[in-house]
Amino acid sequence: MSPEENRDIYEIRFSRRAEKGWKTLEENIPEATEKCLHFLMFTPLDRLASGGKIKKMKGTFSKFLQYDVTDNARIQYWVDKDCRIVYVKYAGPHP
């Protein structure tokens, strides 16, 4: 990764619960989680760049975004744009 790319990168932080879920996803679907991670690091708010994988949560959960890792797995997160931090709150199965 070039220093220029590094400057724009988002830091990713997981809640303890989400971290457990994320590790399970990493073990089961490594390629999809890698792709998801790349998305979160560079363009976590860009709906177009997500290729239809992002949803904006509504109502009570309007603070959060959802990224569909696969048809059966998803993560939910919120973004602190000023500090360039992505906070992942949930990583796990899709009902």
Partner: protein, 154 residues
């Protein structure tokens, strides 16, 4: 009324054949109808038809949803069955946003926002179906309780 709004030019197949370029250019701006026996075939800009179909589709959904729910926000909907999982306050918000997005789409001919709105609300309703997921989002963590992910080195 429908004929007036449509405001097409009606020609016969011979005329179309004779001045094909002219009529095709014209059809980009307004419909051109070719008389074909007792009926007519129209040449219409594709975007216009796409918008009309989208408008019809979403108008049908909206009308059916209104018929099903009426004034009761808690009534079940077969058009959007997933709304059943939403809390009442969110149901009201969905209804308001859906109506607003529909009107905006008609005015702008841009249906993407409305499509995304429905996807977003459906995804939100799915969260409400999963208690573990709801709890995860409701739990408040202090920033120091988060774990920083170290980038994997290849």
């Amino acid at each position: 009324m429908v004929n007036t709004v449509f405001s097409d030019e009606i020609i016969n197949p011979t005329e179309l054949k004779k001045n094909q370029r002219r009529w095709l250019d014209k059809a980009r701006k307004q419909p051109v109808t070719i008389k074909f026996g007792d009926s007519g075939l129209a040449i219409v800009d594709r975007e216009l038809i796409k918008n009309l179909y989208a408008e019809k589709h979403y108008a049908e959904l909206l009308i059916k949803y209104c018929q099903e729910t009426g004034n009761s926000i808690t009534a079940k909907s077969s058009v959007f069955p997933w709304t059943a999982s939403l809390p009442d306050e969110d149901k009201q918000e969905f209804r308001n946003e859906f109506f607003t997005a529909f009107v905006k789409a008609i005015q702008t001919n841009n249906w993407t926002e409305l499509e995304e709105l429905l996807e977003d609300w459906k995804a939100t309703a799915e969260v409400w179906e999963n208690p573990e997921n709801v709890e995860a989002l409701m739990t408040k963590e202090e920033s120091e309780e988060y774990i920083t992910l170290e980038p994997r080195r290849k």
